[in-house]
Amino acid sequence: MEDKETIDAELAVIGAGIAGMAAAMFASNRGIPTVQIGRTGELAFASGLIDLMGVHPLAQKHVQEDPWAAIDLLTKVSPQHPYARLGKKKILEALNEAIAFLEQSGLPYQGSGEKNSLVPTPAGTLKPTYRVQSGMWNGVQSLKLGTPCTIVGFQGLKGFSPQQMKTVLERRWPGLRAARISFPAASSNSEIYPEQLALRFDLPEGRRLLADLLRPNIMNAGAVGLPAVLGIYRSKQAIEDLEEALGIPVFEIPTILPSVPGIRLKEAFCSGLQRNGVRLFHQFRVLEAAPARKAKFHLTVGRKNAELTIRASGVILASGRFLGGGLHAGRNGIHESIFDLPVHQPENRELWHRMNPMDPRGHPINRAGLEVDKNFRPLKNGGPAFENLYAAGSILAHQDWMRMKCGSGLSIATAFGAVEAFGTSRPR
């Protein structure tokens, strides 16, 4: 290992999802020399919405209008939920800092003050969330006011059916109409891809063509809704141009698989982190971790094989769950992949999942994860496993982000908590 390059940093953030990005941001905002290691691919699955707390209690499928009241209720019955460690004041501080950072990187967010908003999805369902990318805001408003809108889809763009939205939302949003346009695309078959489209709308010619195609379809509409493909780097300008050309509000509807808003989030974080001087090792993985001599961690990292060593005084483990690879499930149980930390989990595999995948209570395995002390340090044998190892994000136990609709809020807030704890412990 001696002949590999060695890099020194004060803090190493393992993970490039929302928690990892947020941790690197909070650390670099505070002047802590930081490196980030991780794969950014999963952000392409992020809806780009910032959830804080949407549903509580789960068993009653109660969609909450007030996320902060919901957090109060939740932390009373679940004092081990990561939100309980932080308290509302810190959670709000964390969110505000993150949203300001993203705005600075060209990705503004909006919301209904301190209340949740309902966002229409392509399925015709409604999702509660705290903050939406600005391009989606008119959609939230139009739904609320019942504004007669035309939803327009693209020929060849899968998984987005204006007809589905209209049909499913008919009773709730009677003024919806459905339309479809054909945008000339480069591929040989008739399929078009969200990223491909979005890049076209970063450019003025693309927007002009789109406006021309939309115009005949939006007679008498109070607003027009499109899948979230209106630019990657210049989405704000894309929407402004379209609104000017069409004379009515234009809004985006979040999509997934892949999600352009998720890609925007990734790009905004990356550019901001680079501005802040964070050294990024994206698409790298931590192959080996050794807590070592002179109280530093030695992380062997590489894309496939070992490429270099990172020496850091502190590590924030934001490596995600099973999809991200932070946790691994084998026939004998769930393991944490890098430090082999104890994982809180159901007694046996038969208890992992309920019989109904849509059981509103959620699956017990989703609450498995790392238990931490009040400083967000993972526990082992009753105390912190390592003095300067912290954990943040969805890898934490006692939360169910997919059901509670608290994913990004949890990631951002716990990253804040972990960085704050490390900051307090830093040698001067």
Binding site: L257, F322, M355
Partner: protein, 521 residues
């Protein structure tokens, strides 16, 4: 509605019977509570038995299998991949059993060619090094979906009628004669009355329930069997464990995958038949003796089926209850025009149908001979889509690149969905994810419906085939159905896939928050 013969049950036996009768010029209506192959016919190994498995305990079954095996290879080759099979004994297996095996096979007329362990491993390199005996047999792989679809298609071309989603609720009986059957269309609640001269119970595991409605009683045992599907095909041939029939004896090639199994668990009711974590672990443990690499293999899903076994006095172990079939004329139940055909296995479906058709025909005074042992099973294009990898072949072959891929894992394009949808609508059947996944491979690939579920639903809404929340309701049902199969294998990559699926459908779409009460009918 009126017909000559009413058949209850749309599995291999029922559809085979409809075709047999149709070929004798007899008009039938086949009623099915769900869709074709909803029972054991849709949840089995797909094994076309050489018969060798039954030589020790059930030699009549063994001989029947051999004959039907040869017949079906001749008459329905499009449903069969003639893979051949091996019987393998490993260190620790019952030596008396393997010693007796060749003579027992020979006595039943079943070819079993001895191989050395090296020869066996040359044919199947993944086999263990601890082989003590090996034989080559004439097992093959058969596609039960294509089989039933093709049988039913031929029957309907000859004038028979298929009523799916119709549940039998009652029989109208007068003086030992069944006059009519009352049905409930489960898709709209409508009641339908069908008058017929003869009534056949081919309801498989539900035969006891149907018979009870007619006032007859059949001693049926339910034996649940679970099977595991691997991500890719492990062996060319069928692999059988050469030992007294037990759990986890078989590795079955199924197109692009392998199917491992099985178990035999006595269950009391037919409600909620799902594979369990323990069964999956048991199968893996047993298969490890044949294929040591099995722990590294990725599984796609598990599924369970129920074998209906006619209980025999004195047999306590479900494996020793005869897997031969039963034809009941119900005269002792005081019924003069009711027949039950049950038990048996997929391999002997045609023979079961023949015997039932013989009895029914004679009761009708029809003397036309059975033609199913001579007539080739027709091979219509619309029944081709169940074959794994057939979709990419056709898609690329046609050069028809102007289409959108709705299921990327199994490469099913929108044009295929159009074709199947048209077909279903012509037969006045519902177009939904379930019907589509039965006839294609949508949802059966690694993503288990994560991507294609949403994409196909959107497409069907675009075609105007769904109104209101119905598409979402179908999507939810589709995911619940797939879940049964993936829940017990959620480790490693499949668990990561399941997490992504939950993130999409719950985290984003909030599908779990929908209230069933909100749905319009």
């Amino acid at each position: 509605m009126q017909t000559q013969v009413l058949i209850i049950g749309g599995g291999a036996t029922g559809t085979g019977l409809a075709r047999d009768l149709a070929l004798r010029g007899i008009k039938c209506i086949l009623v099915e509570k769900q869709d074709l192959n909803a029972g054991a016919s849709g949840a089995n190994h797909g094994l076309l038995h050489s018969g060798a498995r039954y030589v020790a305990g059930d030699s009549p079954s063994a001989a029947q299998c051999r004959l039907e095996n040869e017949l079906l290879k001749k008459l329905a080759p499009q449903c069969i991949e003639n893979t051949g099979g091996l019987y393998i004994a490993v260190e620790g297996d019952d030596e008396t059993y393997s010693a007796a095996f060749p003579d027992l096979c020979s006595a039943a007329g079943i070819p079993a060619i001895p191989l050395t362990p090296d020869e066996a491993r040359e044919r199947e390199p993944l086999l263990t090094e601890r082989i003590t005996a090996a034989y080559e047999v004439e097992d093959a792989s058969i596609d039960p979906f294509r089989l039933s679809l093709s049988n039913m298609h031929h029957a309907t071309c000859l004038g028979s009628v298929l009523l799916r989603h119709c549940e039998v609720t009652d029989f109208e009986i007068d003086n030992g004669f069944i006059l009519a059957v009352r049905l409930r269309d489960t898709s709209n609640g409508q009641e339908i009355l069908v008058e017929a001269e003869q009534f056949v119970n081919a309801a498989g595991a539900w035969a006891g329930v149907i018979a009870a409605l007619a006032g007859a009683s059949i001693p049926i045992l339910y034996s649940k069997g679970t099977l595991l599907v691997t991500g890719h095909r492990l062996c060319h041939r069928v692999l059988n464990r050469l030992r007294p029939p037990s759990d986890g004896d078989i590795v079955m090639p199924g197109g692009t995958v392998s199917i491992l199994g099985t178990t035999s668990i006595r269950i009391e009711t037919l409600d909620d038949v799902s594979p369990t974590v323990n069964e999956v672990d048991l199968i893996v443990k047993e298969i490890r003796a044949l294929l040591p690499c099995i722990e590294e293999i990725r599984f796609i899903r598990a599924f369970s089926g129920v074998r209906p076994l006619i209980s025999q006095a004195g047999k306590s172990d479900d494996r020793s209850v005869s897997r031969g079939f039963s034809l009941l004329d119900h005269l002792s139940d005081g019924l003069k025009n009711f027949t039950t055909i049950t038990g048996g296995k997929l391999t002997t479906y045609r023979l079961m149908a023949e015997k039932a058709a013989d009895l029914v025909s004679s009761r009708l005074g029809n003397t036309n001979p059975c033609l199913t042992a001579h007539e080739k099973l027709p091979d219509p294009a619309v029944c081709h889509w169940t074959e794994p990898a057939s979709s990419p072949k056709k898609w690329f072959g046609n050069g028809k690149q102007q289409t959108v891929m709705l299921c990327e894992c199994e490469m099913v394009p929108a044009s295929t969905v159009d074709l199947i949808a048209d077909c279903l609508q012509e037969n006045r059947e519902k177009v939904n994810l379930k019907a589509l996944s039965l006839r294609t491979r949508i949802g059966k690939g690694p993503c288990q419906g994560t991507f294609c579920g949403a994409q196909v639903t959107a497409y069907l809404y675009d075609l105007g085939l769904y109104h209101s929340n119905l598409g979402l309701d179908d999507l939810g049902k589709f995911l619940i159905e797939r879940w049964k199969g993936i829940r017990p294998i959620l480790l490693d990559m499949p668990l990561a896939q399941a997490e992504l699926q939950e993130a999409v459908y719950c985290g984003f779409f909030c599908l779990e928050l929908l209230d069933p009460e909100d749905l319009e009918v």
